[in-house]
Symmetry: C3
Subunit: 346 residues, 3 copies
């Protein structure tokens, strides 16, 4: 999978400025790119990143001048890049299972669309429906009445319980559990009695869910993952959580029951969020933060407990400087004693 910059320019009807013979081996975002990658820049605000990126080439708009890197000029850099991403993805496609393996178990009234694949030892319970071209790998379990859309990809050893709804083009990685009971008990005379968890889970189109994730079903009603949201490995999503569209939930995040997360939110790695609060659209919570109160939209938050980033940074700077502050206070104390002594002398 090696293409020259010139070949890529042809794919998107763009114009090479710089060296068209550069070999491109991959695609990436402008910050994450490595040598060999092509990336793109649509927003003039980020022009300074052209100097910093490790990418070998950049797709830009027609109006960029005298770039310091090899670029492809196009009318619409975003669309051109999306096209190239699809092209690279297609090149790499692995051989997924095809057809219904004879050892796959299909219950009663299972509705399979066109070209559905079910791998060996997968178990599909009664009344399940699976849309066209979806693929269920070996050893996965799909519980009764669950609905899966079209073009979904469920990797090996996934467990999806009963009455869950999963959209189109959803990708679910191995070991993930969807629709397990919410963690709800009530103490009666010192013992924890289970509260029935009879809601469900609804996962929108174009969601991707990493490996060994857990998404609990709602007590009543439903736990919701909005369309286009991407969830990394080992994330815990409790009962009745609702996540909006196009959010990013990084590895090992935990979200407690009945919390609402907006659209385009980013929760960085190992963040914990308490129950019954809300995090507004476009908010970003930095890694390992502990969120104990609602966060307004468009806020960057950090810390334990999480605060707006500027407040948290100021507080943290103060904390790191504490040894000096203690010295300062000790000096002031000494000076005051000297002053007191002097005043007594007078």
């Amino acid at each position: 999978m090696r293409k020259t910059l010139k070949e890529i320019a042809e794919l998107v009807d763009g114009e090479v400025v710089g060296n068209g013979d550069i070999i491109i081996t991959g695609v990436s975002g402008i910050r994450e790119a490595d040598e060999g990658d092509i990336t793109f820049l649509a927003n003039p605000k980020y022009f300074p990143l052209i100097e910093k990126t490790r990418a070998s080439a950049i797709i830009t708009s027609r109006d960029i001048e005298a770039p310091t890197k090899s670029v492809i000029r196009t009318d619409n850099p975003s669309l051109a890049f999306a096209k190239i991403v699809s092209f690279f993805v297609a090149l790499y496609e692995v051989k997924h299972p095809q057809g219904i393996h004879p050892t796959a178990i299909l219950g009663k009234n299972v509705a399979l669309g066109r070209d559905v694949a079910v791998g060996p030892y997968a178990v599909i319970e009664d009344e399940v429906s699976i849309g066209d071209k979806s693929i269920i790998y070996a050893g996965s379990f799909i519980g009764q009445y669950t609905k899966i859309g079209t073009d979904a990809l469920v990797y090996p050893n996934v467990s999806i319980r009963e009455r869950v709804t999963i959209g189109n083009r959803v990708i679910i990685h191995s070991g993930t559990v969807i629709g397990s009971d919410g963690f709800g008990f009530v103490v009666i005379e010192g013992l924890h009695h289970k509260i029935p968890q009879v809601g469900t889970v609804e996962i929108g189109d174009d969601v991707e869910i990493g490996a060994n994730v857990t998404i609990d079903r709602a007590r009543f009603d439903k736990t919701v993952i909005g369309k286009g949201t991407k969830i990394d490995n080992l994330v815990q999503i409790a009962h009745n959580v609702a996540i909006g569209e196009n959010s990013i939930i990084v590895a090992q995040v935990g979200i407690s029951g009945s919390t609402t997360i907006g659209k385009n939110v980013t929760l960085a790695g190992q963040v914990g969020v308490v129950g019954h609060i809300s995090i507004g659209d476009n908010a970003i919570v930095m890694a390992q933060s502990g969120v104990s109160k609602s966060i307004p939209p468009n806020t960057m938050a950090w810390g334990y407990p999480a605060k707006p980033q500027d407040v948290a940074k100021r507080v943290n700077a103060c904390v790191q400087n504490l040894p000096r502050l203690y010295n300062t206070v000790a000096e002031l104390k000494k000076k005051i004693e000297e002053l007191e002594a002097k005043l007594k002398d007078k």
Copy 2:
């Protein structure tokens, strides 16, 4: 699953005060309840919560007067509520597997009680025993000599290794691993040599274990989960940990080797506990805390490192106020310089 308050009152031989035609759709604790729920109040200490709960109705004792919410008066609100919970659970029961699926693999000398169900592609190794009415779902693995009690429920794709003991009415959610090797190595000339992990795991009656939990077997002896304890998703319990009865271990908690947790303890989400310490009965450790020293019984602890809550809160308030303290110290410094200057003048 909709009942009028009147119908529910009849179930528990109680008296409606207020509107008996209210529709009840679920049960919950008084703090977690939503509209449509019925809850209960047994302890007069919590009477003020009657005003605050979102529940539509409350089961109370006979002596409550002039309630502001619709209530059912009963002789014993706790027992009445427990009865209603069971009633609602029964209403919702899903269709679990029945009988031994022809593809289930049973080793030699497997002892199955009455009405045991084993789902497709489950693997039960030699010498396992499973008690009456227990259910093992598809794709789960039960290792040699493991014993499971009666009325247990093991969801799909659970892995239970050899020689583990599991009590009655235990629920284990998908993806959970019980009896994996403890993490024990000894460094000999720069290399980590595995220390044999030949103990086991013992899980008491009425324990519930969430999805993708890991509970390691002991090095010798046993890792113990006391009866009635409830464990949420993605929790790590290391070798030789002992947890008492009726404790609550919330999602993503990690407990290191040989630590002892008492009865009725709550470890909130993402708490980490070091090895070889103990946490006393009824202790509560708040979310994301890092516990590095033993915690006495009846203590509420918080922070990193975890401290009694009042100490931790005071310290945290101080931390959040630091920018002001820096200002104060700067002002004091200035005043001292002024005083010094004045004194020189004299």
Copy 3:
């Protein structure tokens, strides 16, 4: 598995000093040992631990005199102890699966070495190779073109995706996922587009990987776990991470993309590490730390954000003392006001 100290001494050609009739039931490191254990001491620096260890007996060099515990003197305590560990491991060996179970599914061109075992319902895809004496338990999945070395042990319900390379004597516990897609997206006009993750994972000899771990495949190139490294349960290792040899990664650690971890590094429980940094050889990062910047070799680091341990401890001591500092500052303020008043009086 009970041996007298005398019997053990004979195994390693050593000399008992003290009570040769003591019953030894296990082996352990000197700090972790319990009663009944035998341990060893090779480095004279640690002689004081002889007084503190809970072990019942210790293997030492020939030159130790007048020990307060029963010891076995040998020419090379490390090697003698390694021999005893192997001896104890052999005693406990459980009955692993043998041969290829008739329900195991083997794809085309699968190359199996001598005495390979594949359990029931395991799925081995096309072009896989598995070395001599390796064991694949029930329900595990091995993707196309993956190579597994000799004497490897893969427990039930493990998912290993395509084109992964796994060394000799590697142990992988249940529920673990290796080779899942890295978490990589690029935002194009507000939507997250998947970046193809077409690299692989390479796991060195003698690595042990706990239960429900996730190790993502690289975007290009490979995610690497160096030989002899041991990984505990529920650890997240992102795409393109490289870990050196003989490192220890404790439970629930998360390592973000493209980070490099050196040799002999220890990351304690629940540590989080950001992407694109490096942690030097022999570094130790203490539990729950959040590592946001590279850490030099031979450093002990702690905190959030992680700092060298001495700095972090000093800062933490300052933090814990804050309530006192506030009091001190309040007193100084009062004294200054008194001084100001006095000066005015004069």
